[in-house]
Amino acid sequence: MLFNYQEFLDGIDREAYHAGEWQWEEDGYTVTRTYTYSAPGCHTSCGVLMYTKNGKLEKIEGDPLDPCANGRLCMRCLNLEEGVNYADRPKWPLKRVGARGENKWERISWEEALDTIAEWIRVNIDEAGFGRESIFVNHGTGRNISSWVPFLGGACLGTPNIGAIGSSGYSCYLPRTCGTAASIGDFPIVDASEGHADRYANPEWVRPDVVVIWGCEPLKSNADGYLGHWLVACMQQGTQFISIDPQLTWWGAHAAYWLPLRPATDMAIALAWLHVIMYEELEDREFVDLWCAYYDELKAYVEPFTPEWAGKICELDPELIRESARFYATAERAAIQWGLAFDTQNDSIQLCQTVSNLMSITGNIDKPGTNLLVRNGFEINPGYATAQLYCPPETFAKKLTVDVTHPGYVHFIGMADCDAVNHAFETGEPYPMKMFWSQGANAITCTGNAAPRIYQMLENVEFCVVADPYLTPTAVAFADIFLPLKTTAERDSMRVWWTPLRAMKSVSEWYEAKSDEELIVALGNKMNPELFQKRWPTLDALLQDYLDTGFNIVDPRRASPTSRPAAPRPAWWRCLTPTPTSGRSTTTTARAASSRSSRTSAATSTTTSARPIASTRRACCARTARPASPRRRAASSWCPSPPSAPGASTRGPSTTSPSTP
């Protein structure tokens, strides 16, 4: 093995890379050590050194001292400068002057843009007798705007209808998040040492023996599995692979087993693997006895699902299914890297739960080198549900939920239901959609399989606002007002999506563009001044609140144990009170408070710890974890971890609303 992480660390010339400094001058450039995020938007966020001159981004390189990416970058950030300084990038707010789609615009000021929006809503929604639920907010998937934009929808515009348009159901990561919330209590990712600041050199980390790459091509896109190339570092250290993919990928060509299944028959393989493992008694007996509920019932259920049964469905040799199942189950440490293919199948939730069961019965959860249940840095957990706390309760009750088009189904996630949104746009039922707000999203292109349908839905919407760094096809086709947004290079923000907490420093300017956060402050102070003047009057206040509470509702009377004295409840408290419809029970709250307490005190060195009374997703999830605490520590040394929850099990779904990617 040539790969030697310690040798790499020892070999870096720390002086040449200005260790310990976050900004310095070098050869006429100002160099800033920071992280990238959206826009342009990426699920990863790598450490970079940005080189600027006179407020303009000139070049960028990876930061070898960043323990996340260790200086390695993909092509996209290597060429970030081209996207940031793109000549046709809009410089100021625009008002449409031609017909929709003609791409004719007039420059306007931010004041005029925000006044126009506020006035349109006042006249055509409020005074015309409609509710704010007639505004739909569409956002994309860049990992921190997906909490900022829903927050804008609820707190600034007062609508509960936030999410995706054109799709049917949820075809991106929600099946995996919901599927795992119910069965194992959290998001599983492959432990490629990302929980440790000293990474592969950490003495408690052990590389996986086997990694299953399933419906995923991590080298091209690893979305919520972090950097796909970390798995290549594992391979160099001896990890062997199984590839489950209809197509030959780099992984399939390098795998001990490649299962080229018939597309969308993954569920049959998962059931057959369960069958082999349970009937050959390859499960992790200790883990099953301590942490798994309903093992015998599951075993009885999978009895008919033999490799021969699956082989016919998947068009695979049953022996290949049997041998690969043994290879996964008998490894001391095995992990599954799953991809979007899990979310886009008809039986996606069942598939996610079945594969969660594979992780559970083999004990491959939360021990080094297996699947980690990963958490946000310092438990800052903003999400859809958080955002909707600020939508007035009577409006929130009208949210477009799953039962609009699927009677009898129960809505339990933060987003509005896609099918219900489509239905409302197409039929005006249960109420007409008057206004479309798109931020960091490009519905007509990115949900391209539904482009004609989306076009028909939006062409007659009375008022459309598009906020984006670029004039997208969606902006050209529909926007009445276009608001220019900043890219990552211009934006002060942070990434809390899993450890570590990463700060993003603005290093350049782009004319009049605003960051998503600045837009929230400007719009909120115009549309909802009573709340914003009290809680988020400025950008600093907004960013601080994000760090302190993740935008959760804070009862100022309840002091955190370490930081705040009890205070009388101020008058504005009323508008922050969570509603019964937010789906949070007092039991949940109590459990949240108790499970958070140890972490809260540990986190105070970097964040002020106000304790949200509304719980976060994680606190009330049934959680499967080994009782041995060293493993837990090993998994999360960057972020102080809670005591594992004894008694939590795979039993039954939790009632919580997973924060949405």
Partner: protein, 112 residues
């Protein structure tokens, strides 16, 4: 003499070395300081598992490569080595790099 060792067994063909180098040398479209080659995928009859497939990427360093002389003089890594996502490139004295090759996986050693 300085050289770059590529443990190409693990090269994934990600192109980061190419783009990092183009940025460093400020090369126009069509010119490269390092350029990826691809062999495969094809199958070996009678072999199983990871030995069954050949799919090999190997970046080739061109005449334009200056071994990142200005960067290495300051103690920095060459751009391609620093950004290699698969962690399969090493920079150093060719003697040291030759010793690093341990026969466990395929390597190529490049010099100017």
């Amino acid at each position: 003499m300085k050289g770059i060792l590529i443990n190409y067994e693990f090269c994934t063909g990600c192109h980061s070395c190419e783009v990092a180098c183009k940025k460093h040398l400020d090369l126009p479209a069509g010119e490269f300081g390092i350029k990826l080659s691809e062999t495969g995928p094809f199958e070996y009859a009678g072999k199983a598992g990871a030995d069954h497939w050949e799919w090999t990427y190997l970046p080739v360093m061109t005449k334009a490569c200056d071994m990142c002389a200005d960067r290495t003089a300051k103690g920095k890594l060459p751009m391609c080595v620093q950004h290699c996502q698969a962690w399969c490139m090493y920079y150093g004295e060719v003697e040291d790099l030759a010793k690093k090759m341990d026969g466990s996986s395929r390597c190529a050693l490049f010099t100017r």
